[in-house]
C-alpha cells in the first residue's frame, strides 16, 4: 500500500525541494543536532542567484522577536523562564554541492517589519545563477534548542513535539522572487512540495511518530536507536517522541467498507452526481500516539479520525497518503495540540472529557475533523498561510462545521450534546464592534482575535452563505473541483473564486470582493408595512371618448371592499449588496417568495391581496448566515404572543450551556 498512491495521484512537476536529514535528539537538553541535505529544483521560468531559508525556531529565542512582540508575552507561556525554556536554531555549516562555503554570505533579513531582533529568515547569495530547470544541492549542519512548548512545537518534560525544527527553504515564485516571511504570532507556513528522508536518533525505547511512514528502525546502540521515516510529496516534516511510560501508540486503520456512514455516501452521491466507483476510498493506516491518561478516550479519537477520513474523502477526494499520525498531547503540553503537519496532526483531549458533562462537548471530534481537514486545505492545497491564512483556515472551518453538523444530525457520536455549530459561529461574528475584513496578511489584523474571527469564522460563514446562494450541489461540486484542480499546488484566493464561479454559473467575484476582500456588512430589514383598503373610485373616468364623473355607487362592489392594498418597504441597512429572498405570508394561508437584489438602499413593494399580509421574513431560509442583525428581518401583522415575555431567560440559559459546551 505504501507509496503507490503517492506516485499515482501527483503530477510529475510536484517535487521541487527534497530533504535528507539526520538528526539526534538529546532528551536531557532537548537539543537537536542535525545534518541536512537539500536538493532544490527551479521549476519556474525565472532564474535566481539567491536562496531564502526559514529558521522558525528563532522566533522563540527571546522576548523581542517579531513573534513574541506580536504575542505580547515577555516570557514563554507566562512562565518564569529558566535555562532551556527559550528555543533557537543555528546553522553551523552551509556548503554548496561544489564544496563552496556559503556561511560567510548568509545574512538575516526581515522582509516584513525590519525588526533587528528577529532572526527567522536568512538569505544566502549563491555564487552562480540557477536557471529555470536548474538544480541546487546544499548540505548544512544545524543545532537547535527546542523551546518549552509554544506554538505547537517544543517540549514539556519528556514529551517532544518537534515542528518547524530544521532550516527550510522558502518558496521561489519566479519573477516575483522568493516568498519568505518572518514567523508571526498569527501565521503558519508556506513551502514547496518534495520528498523527505529523515533519520531520527532518539532514546532506544521511546515511541515516535512522524510525517510519512517508518521505513527502518535501527538496532539500539548505547541507549539510542535511529528511526527512518520517508515522506513524498509533502511540504513539511514534523515528529513527536516521548517515553513509553508517558505515551502509547495505538495502531488502527480506516476501512471504507466499515467506516463510511451510509447516509454520507448517499449524500455525496446525490450532491456530486457521482457513482459509487468514483467515491471509492482507499484504506489507510491510522497511528495514534496518546498519553496513557487519555486511554479511555481512544475509541472516541479513533472514531473521530475515521469519520474525518470518510467525510473529506467522500466530499473532496481520496486522501493520497497511506498513513496518518495523530498525536494527543499530555497534560501540560496542551499548547502542542490543534496543529497540522503533512500526514501528522496534533489534536487535543482532556482527562475529564471521558466523563459527563465534559464528554458532552464535541471538542475531540471538532479538533480532529479540523486538523484532518488541513491535510487537504494546506496539506495538499498548499496555499500561502502567511498571506492568505483565510484560504486554508476558513475553508477548513467550513468543511469542519459541515462535517460536525452531519455527525450530530446522523447521531454518529451519541456522546455529544445537541449543539448548533453554525449558530455558534454566527454568534462569534456578532461580537465585534467593527466590521471584519478577511483578506489580509496574517499579521496585519487588528489583533489576534480579529485574525481568528476573520480567517476562521467569517470565511467559514462566507462559504456557508455561498452554499445557500448557489445550492449545496453546486457548492459540493465546486469544492471538489477546487481540490482536484489544485492539489499539490499553491492555490490563491482568486483560484477558489474562479472555480466556484465556474462550477456554479454565478459570478461570485462581487461576493468575495465584499465579504472577503472588503468589510461590507449584510443587513436587511423590514422597514414598514402599511395596510389600507382601496379607495372607492372618485373624480372623472375616461370612457374612450369623454371624461365623465364616476358614480361611486356603481363602482363600489363587494370584492373591492374585501381587498387590501399593502405598502411594504424593505431596507438594506448594511453596505453588502446581494440578492435576498423575502417571504410574504398572507392571512388566507398563501405564501409568496420574492427576491430583492438590494441594489438600492430601500425598495417599496405595492401589493394587493384579498387578505391582509400576515408575516414578512427577509431571508427566511437564513441563507445569509453572515448577517448577524436579524431581529428586524421579521415582521408580523398581529403582534404575536411570544412564547413567553421572559423567553430571554430561556435563551440566557441556553447561551450559558452553549458557552460551556464550546469552551469546556
Amino acid at each position: 500500500m505504501a507509496g503507490s498512491l503517492w506516485a499515482a495521484t501527483a503530477p510529475a512537476d510536484v517535487d521541487i525541494v527534497d530533504y535528507e536529514i539526520d538528526v539526534v535528539l538529546d532528551p536531557e537538553t532537548h537539543r537537536l543536532e542535525g545534518v541536512e541535505k537539500i536538493r532544490w529544483t527551479n521549476r519556474t521560468d525565472a532564474a535566481t542567484d539567491e536562496l531564502y531559508f526559514h529558521l522558525y525556531l528563532n522566533a522563540f529565542s527571546g522576548s523581542r522577536t517579531t513573534f513574541m512582540r506580536e504575542l505580547q508575552w515577555r516570557s514563554l507561556r507566562n512562565r518564569t523562564e529558566g535555562e532551556g525554556d527559550w528555543g533557537w536554531i543555528q546553522i553551523g555549516r552551509l556548503t554548496l554541492d561544489d564544496g563552496s562555503d556559503l556561511l560567510p554570505v548568509m545574512e538575516f533579513v526581515r522582509p516584513d517589519d525590519d525588526n533587528p531582533d528577529d532572526f527567522t529568515v536568512v538569505r544566502v547569495a549563491l555564487p552562480r545563477v540557477v536557471e529555470p530547470g536548474g538544480v541546487v544541492e546544499l548540505e548544512l549542519e544545524f543545532e537547535a534548542q527546542l523551546p518549552w512548548i509554544i506554538a505547537r512545537t517544543g517540549f514539556v518534560g519528556d514529551f517532544h513535539l518537534v515542528g518547524q525544527w530544521f532550516p527550510k527553504l522558502a518558496v521561489f515564485e519566479g519573477e516575483r522572487g522568493w516568498n519568505s516571511h518572518q514567523f508571526h504570532a498569527s501565521s503558519e507556513f508556506f513551502a514547496d512540495f518534495g520528498s523527505y528522508l529523515v533519520r531520527m536518533t532518539i532514546p532506544e525505547n521511546w515511541v515516535i511518530g512522524a510525517t510519512g511512514i517508518e521505513v527502518r528502525s535501527g538496532m539500539p546502540d548505547a541507549g539510542q536507536r535511529t528511526v527512518t521515516y520517508r515522506a513524498e510529496r509533502v511540504h513539511d516534516f514534523a515528529w513527536c517522541t516521548a517515553p513509553p511510560e508517558l505515551m502509547e501508540v495505538v495502531e488502527t486503520d480506516f476501512e471504507p467498507g466499515r467506516d463510511v456512514p451510509m447516509p454520507w455516501l448517499n449524500r455525496a452521491r446525490d450532491l456530486l452526481d457521482l457513482g459509487a466507483a468514483d467515491l471509492e476510498l482507499p484504506p489507510m493506516r491510522l497511528r495514534l500516539i496518546v498519553p496513557r491518561e487519555q486511554k479511555k478516550m481512544v475509541p472516541r479519537m479513533v472514531r473521530a479520525a475515521r469519520l474525518s477520513v470518510a467525510w473529506f474523502g467522500l466530499f473532496y477526494g481520496a486522501y493520497p497518503y497511506p498513513q496518518l499520525t495523530i498525536v494527543s498531547p499530555p497534560v501540560g503540553a496542551e499548547e502542542a495540540g490543534g496543529m497540522e503537519y503533512p500526514n501528522f496532526i496534533a489534536t487535543g483531549a482532556d482527562r475529564l472529557d471521558a466523563y459527563p458533562p465534559f464528554s458532552w462537548s464535541s471538542d475531540i471530534e471538532a479538533v480532529t475533523v479540523h486538523e484532518y481537514g488541513h491535510q487537504y486545505f494546506q496539506g495538499l492545497l498548499a496555499s500561502n498561510e502567511f498571506e492568505e491564512a483565510w484560504l486554508d483556515e476558513g475553508v477548513t472551518s467550513y468543511a469542519e462545521i459541515s462535517c460536525m453538523t452531519a455527525i450530530a444530525a446522523d447521531n454518529l457520536v451519541p456522546e455529544i450534546a445537541a449543539f448548533d455549530f453554525w449558530g455558534s459561529e454566527r454568534l462569534s461574528l456578532a461580537f465585534p464592534s467593527l466590521p471584519v475584513t478577511v483578506g489580509k496578511k496574517a499579521w496585519e489584523y487588528r489583533h489576534r482575535w480579529a485574525y481568528f474571527l476573520a480567517s476562521y469564522t467569517k470565511m467559514a460563514l462566507a462559504l456557508r452563505t455561498i452554499e445557500g446562494l448557489i445550492g449545496p450541489e453546486a457548492m459540493a461540486r465546486g469544492m471538489r473541483t477546487y481540490f482536484e484542480r489544485f492539489r499539490f499546488r499553491h492555490p490563491a484566493g482568486g483560484d477558489l473564486v474562479e472555480v466556484l464561479s465556474e462550477t456554479s454559473g454565478w459570478d461570485l467575484g462581487p461576493f468575495f470582493d465584499q465579504a472577503v476582500f472588503g468589510d461590507a456588512v449584510p443587513d436587511w430589514s423590514v422597514l414598514s408595512v402599511r395596510h389600507r383598503r382601496p379607495r372607492p373610485a372618485d373624480g372623472f373616468g375616461w370612457d374612450g371618448e369623454n371624461w365623465s364623473e364616476v358614480d361611486e355607487d356603481q363602482t363600489t362592489d363587494e370584492a373591492a371592499d374585501e381587498s387590501w392594498l399593502v405598502n411594504l418597504q424593505l431596507a438594506r441597512r448594511g453596505d453588502f449588496i446581494g440578492p435576498v429572498d423575502v417571504e410574504l405570508r398572507w392571512s388566507d394561508g398563501t405564501v409568496e417568495r420574492r427576491t430583492w437584489d438590494s441594489q438600492t438602499r430601500w425598495v417599496r413593494w405595492r401589493l394587493e391581496g384579498s387578505s391582509r399580509l400576515e408575516q414578512v421574513v427577509v431571508d427566511p431560509d437564513v441563507t445569509w448566515v453572515l448577517e448577524t442583525n436579524r431581529a428586524d428581518n421579521y415582521w408580523r401583522d398581529q403582534v404575536a404572543a411570544m412564547d413567553h415575555p421572559l423567553w430571554w431567560v430561556r435563551e440566557a440559559i441556553r447561551l450559558a450551556g452553549h458557552i460551556f459546551l464550546r469552551f469546556s
Binding site: E293, R426, A430, P620, R630, A631, A640, H644, L646, V649
Partner: protein, 290 residues
C-alpha cells in the same frame, strides 16, 4: 442551643409578617425594574417573533442582538442589586435575631427589627463573608488535585469526590452560618468565627434537624423566588407577585426555624406578696419526701 424546628419557624414567620412583606417588597424593587428593562428590550417592538419561531439558529443570535445594548447597564444594575440584597438580608437576619433574644414586642413592626439589626450589622456581615470564603475554599479544594498530573484511574473517583464534597461543603458551611447567626446576636459575642464554629458543631450534632428547614422552607423558597423568571408559560404579573410573596415567607420561615426556643418569662413577683410554700430546685427530692 435548641433544636431547629420547622413548625416554630412557620409560627414565627407569621408573627413576623411585616418582615415577610418587607423581604418581598425589596425583592420586587430589585428585580422588577430589571425585568421591565429586559421585557422592553425583548418585547414585540423589538422582536417580531414569527409564527413557528425564528429560522435556523436564530434564537441565540437575536437574543444576543437585542440584549447587547442593555447588557452592560443591566449587568451593573443587577450586580448592585444583588449586593444590596445581600446587605438587606444581613440586616433583617441580624434584626430578627436580636429581637428574638431581647423582644420588646410580640409582633414587631419593621422599624423595630431594623433598629435591632443595625448595631450588629457588621458583626453579621463578617459571618457572611466568613461563610463565603469557607464556601469557596470548600467547594474549590476537592478539584485542585485534578490540576496536577494525577493518574487516569483516579480521575473518576476525584470527580465524584469533588462533586459530593462541593455539595456537602456548601450545605454545611451555610447551615453552620445560619445556626451560628443565632449565637452571634447574644450580648458579648462578637467573634464571627467562634459563632460559625459553634454553629457547625450544632449542625454536626443535629444533622437531620438542621437540614429539615432547608428542605421544607429554604429550597422551596428559592424555587418560588426564581421560578417566575424561568417559567416558560403565560405568566401573569399576579403570579409573579404571589410566587415571590410565598418565597419571601419561606425564606423568613427558613431562617427563623433555627431560632432557639425561648424560656417563658418569669411571672413578676410583688415584694408585698407573702412568700409561697417552700420550693427548691436544688433539692427536689426533699420536697417529694414531704
Amino acid at each position: 442551643m435548641a433544636s431547629p424546628s420547622v413548625v416554630s419557624g412557620f409560627r414565627l414567620a407569621i408573627r413576623l409578617h411585616r418582615l415577610v412583606a418587607a423581604v418581598w417588597l425589596v425583592w420586587v424593587v430589585i428585580f422588577v425594574p430589571a425585568l421591565l428593562v429586559v421585557q422592553a428590550a425583548t418585547g414585540p417592538d423589538r422582536v417580531n417573533r414569527p409564527a413557528g419561531g425564528f429560522g435556523e439558529s436564530e434564537d441565540l443570535l437575536i437574543f444576543f442582538e437585542i440584549m447587547r445594548p442593555v447588557a452592560i447597564p443591566l449587568a451593573i444594575a443587577l450586580v448592585f442589586g444583588c449586593l444590596l440584597l445581600v446587605a438587606w438580608c444581613i440586616e433583617w437576619h441580624a434584626g430578627a435575631v436580636r429581637w428574638w433574644l431581647n423582644p420588646d414586642t410580640d409582633a414587631p413592626v419593621l422599624a423595630q427589627i431594623l433598629g435591632h439589626g443595625l448595631p450588629v450589622w457588621w458583626r453579621f456581615a463578617r459571618l457572611t463573608l466568613l461563610a463565603l470564603v469557607l464556601q469557596v475554599a470548600g467547594a474549590a479544594s476537592p478539584w485542585l488535585p485534578l490540576l496536577a498530573d494525577v493518574e487516569h484511574r483516579f480521575v473518576l473517583p476525584l470527580l465524584i469526590f469533588g462533586s459530593v464534597v462541593t455539595v456537602v461543603a456548601t450545605i454545611l458551611v451555610w447551615l453552620a452560618a445560619f445556626r451560628g447567626g443565632w449565637l452571634l446576636g447574644e450580648p458579648g459575642r462578637r467573634s464571627a468565627m467562634a459563632a460559625w464554629v459553634r454553629g457547625l458543631w450544632a449542625v454536626l450534632r443535629q444533622p437531620l434537624r438542621s437540614l429539615l428547614p432547608l428542605l421544607i422552607w429554604g429550597l422551596p423558597g428559592f424555587v418560588l423566588l426564581v421560578l417566575p423568571l424561568i417559567y416558560a408559560g403565560p405568566a401573569p404579573t399576579l403570579f409573579f407577585l404571589a410566587s415571590w410573596l410565598l418565597g419571601a415567607f419561606c425564606l423568613v420561615a427558613f431562617f427563623v426555624s433555627y431560632a432557639p426556643t425561648k424560656p417563658k418569662p418569669a411571672r413578676p413577683v410583688s415584694p408585698l406578696e407573702p412568700p409561697g410554700p417552700f420550693t427548691t430546685t436544688r433539692f427536689p427530692t426533699l420536697l417529694r419526701d414531704e
